[in-house]
Amino acid sequence: MSALGHYLEEEGIATVAIALIRPQAEHTRPPRALWVPFELGRPIGPPSDPVFQKRVILTALRMLVEGGGPVRIGDFPDDDPREALDPDWHAPTNSPPSAGWGLGAPLAAAVEAELRALAPAYAASCVARERSTVGLSGLPPAECGAYLAAWLRGERPPSPVEGMSPGLALRFAIDDLKAFMLEAALTPGTRPSSRQLGDWLWDRTVLGAGLQVLRRTILAGDDERLKAVAAFFVPALRVASGG
């Protein structure tokens, strides 16, 4: 990101980068960067907090009219208040611990049943937020679930998406299913932290368990292209022990 600032500034446009990883900004030395202490994925800070977000943005934009260049890195002082756990948030489902599952028809059926059970919560969440971020595969969630279920049964199904390889379609279907689940868990009126949501998805859902199993199985195989895709099923910090 800091490199883009360099390129655009060379073309005559003033830039300021929001930098999440300070050492990277220090190495790239962009014209201007504001380091923020927020978790990766949240450059502007807490969701649904316009006042805080505007403070971040204005702190960054003010660097455009302040001196101190040609390389200036500032620091935003405040942490994201949404890192705190919300005691009023409750997980929408509680499945057995993930360790007991293996590839096969029971796991595939359980994943599809879980998706069906969460469909009303997902629909309510979409209405409340007036949006969804599901859509990368181009398939509706139920079809994403059906495609994943075939893989979980140990099959090698053809791609259901024109122009996408089976592996790429699987990656985007999984991205969509994770979004579906996490959006279903965004109960209107609550303010869960990303840790709460992640703990639920990866420790207490069948989908989370299924993705761990599928990832482990593919990585133990010899299909190098598929292995490259499977590396993107489970975040590094959530890979189960032995995975």
Partner: protein, 152 residues
């Protein structure tokens, strides 16, 4: 990100990620903030629903019109090692278009660009040069004189 919150190995990898070594130090001054026209350029792999999603480490870019509705903005970044819950709850966490529009209405900035842009941040930055220069030409044509760069 406070790197001390991450496992040491991950923090080390992120802080030592290879970065371009630039020999020039460009620095563009300009008008007061209240007169600036501001655009967002994101490296979050954002796409408008229906547009071509980023596949892997594509080096090109996507245009995001300022009229894009919240339901039509998707994140196709290849990395899964950053939070997406914030973006799922509120697009402004990554793409603060609503906040910029409010700042323009309040007179804190001059105006907001007609079109914004997104790259795939996992791509080698050197591969993005041509796309970045093309985006610069489009931003200039839109009279943009300030860019807020957001990464994930």
């Amino acid at each position: 990100m406070r790197l001390e919150k991450l496992p040491a190995e991950m923090a080390k990898r992120l802080s030592e990620l290879e970065c371009p070594d630039f020999t020039t130090r460009p620095w563009v001054a300009g008008a007061p903030l209240a007169e600036r026209r501001v655009a967002i350029v994101s490296s979050a792999g954002l796409v408008v629903r229906g547009d071509k999603v980023f596949r892997g480490r594509d080096a090109d870019y996507r245009a995001i019109p300022g009229t894009t509705q919240p339901n039509d903005l998707l994140c196709s970044h290849i990395s899964i090692n950053f939070d997406r819950n914030g973006f799922q709850e509120d697009r402004n966490v990554v793409f603060p278009l609503d906040r910029l529009n409010e700042l323009a209405a309040e007179g804190r900035i001059g105006s907001v660009a007609a079109t914004h842009y997104s790259f795939m941040g996992a791509t080698d930055p050197v591969q993005m040069v041509d796309g970045a220069r093309e985006v610069a030409r489009k931003l200039t044509a839109d009279h943009v004189d300030a860019v807020l760069l957001t990464s994930v």
